[in-house]
Symmetry: C2
Subunit: 195 residues, 2 copies
Amino acid sequence: MSKEIIPLISYFKSFIPLSKEEIKALNERVTERRIKRKQFILQEHEVCRYYTFVVSGCFKMYSVDKDGTEHNLQFASENDWIVDIDSFHNKKPSKLYIAALENAVVLQIEKNDLWYLYTYFPKFDRNFRVIIEYKFIELQNRMLQNISATGDEKYEFFLKQYPQLANRLSNTQIASYLGITPQFLSKIRAKRIRN
Amino acid sequence: MSKEIIPLISYFKSFIPLSKEEIKALNERVTERRIKRKQFILQEHEVCRYYTFVVSGCFKMYSVDKDGTEHNLQFASENDWIVDIDSFHNKKPSKLYIAALENAVVLQIEKNDLWYLYTYFPKFDRNFRVIIEYKFIELQNRMLQNISATGDEKYEFFLKQYPQLANRLSNTQIASYLGITPQFLSKIRAKRIRN
DNA sequence: CGAAAATTTGACATGACTCAACTGGAGTGG
DNA sequence: CCACTCCAGTTGAGTCATGTCAAATTTTCG
């Protein structure tokens, strides 16, 4: 195969393995794209046209408030999906941006193609149900942290849960994800080192 | 039908309507339960055995931290689901409680039965995929609020998004959901009235 | 190497929490 | 019908967590 689709096949295999026909159908409907660092795959007011699977590299999805401050809603690196589901599903203009934090290779599926897969191969319904269930659990855990923990605790939790990701991200990006200012994160880090 | 299953059928209908066979299979696998105010349907350290559909009444799902403070992760009222998915899926002890805030009627599905439905009627995979996608969108919006808004803004947003629910909940419950103290919410409300 | 961005640091301001006292219903039992 | 308790809500004083602004320093990357 010319496209880098193998990581995606392996990924699905970890849920429910795909048959030859399903792999073929998937392969025919997936587009490979190479994205450079700082490039956008979604900008505010656009409709999110793709479900994007990250083969390599790293992305952030974020909103920009009225003061111009960014708020990171999600990161996605290898073997993860990134999409504004609300915009994608309902064809409505997104309030979010998705940008590459590193040069990246992705596989993208358009809505019509995904619908085709859902319709003719129910296993995709199953797989995507399970995938989003896991993402939901992850988000719920983050939510619980957010309503119950202090800045220090949120940072500790993040480092513990995503040690490999934390290495690749700037502290500014992490602060934006945790919902604190970069200056305050810097002070948290200074205190950690002292103790 | 003796059970109050009609609300559930109507609910599914708003996604993809069920066939006669699917309704029958669903009906055979769903248990109706009446829950009194303050009663638990899940407690910490138990495994969450049911996907629970709320026919009437209102629930909260929350954790209790080391100081004994409750943190509301989710509410569920009519035509909504409540379940600790992580515990349910992976048969692991829950860290959460689910308690009724009002007398309630629910329909519950056990894991084996849900698996049966998924296996023999792929439409349930589809329906539950779409259901959780919507819940994911909702949770993402809440997350975005949480990392970017002040207490006042979070409260405004909550009132605007769930006006009917806000009427039924005590301010203490709302504060716990927003991640602020009831005292601080009270001050926010006092300021709102002044302006 | 040099410009731009990220990080750190300090002084100060404000948001949000804590604790404790008070208020005002909603039961409950006499 | 009253006295009582029990909660939820309110309020105020003091404190702590976190944000803002600005400047200095370090790192990154073209």
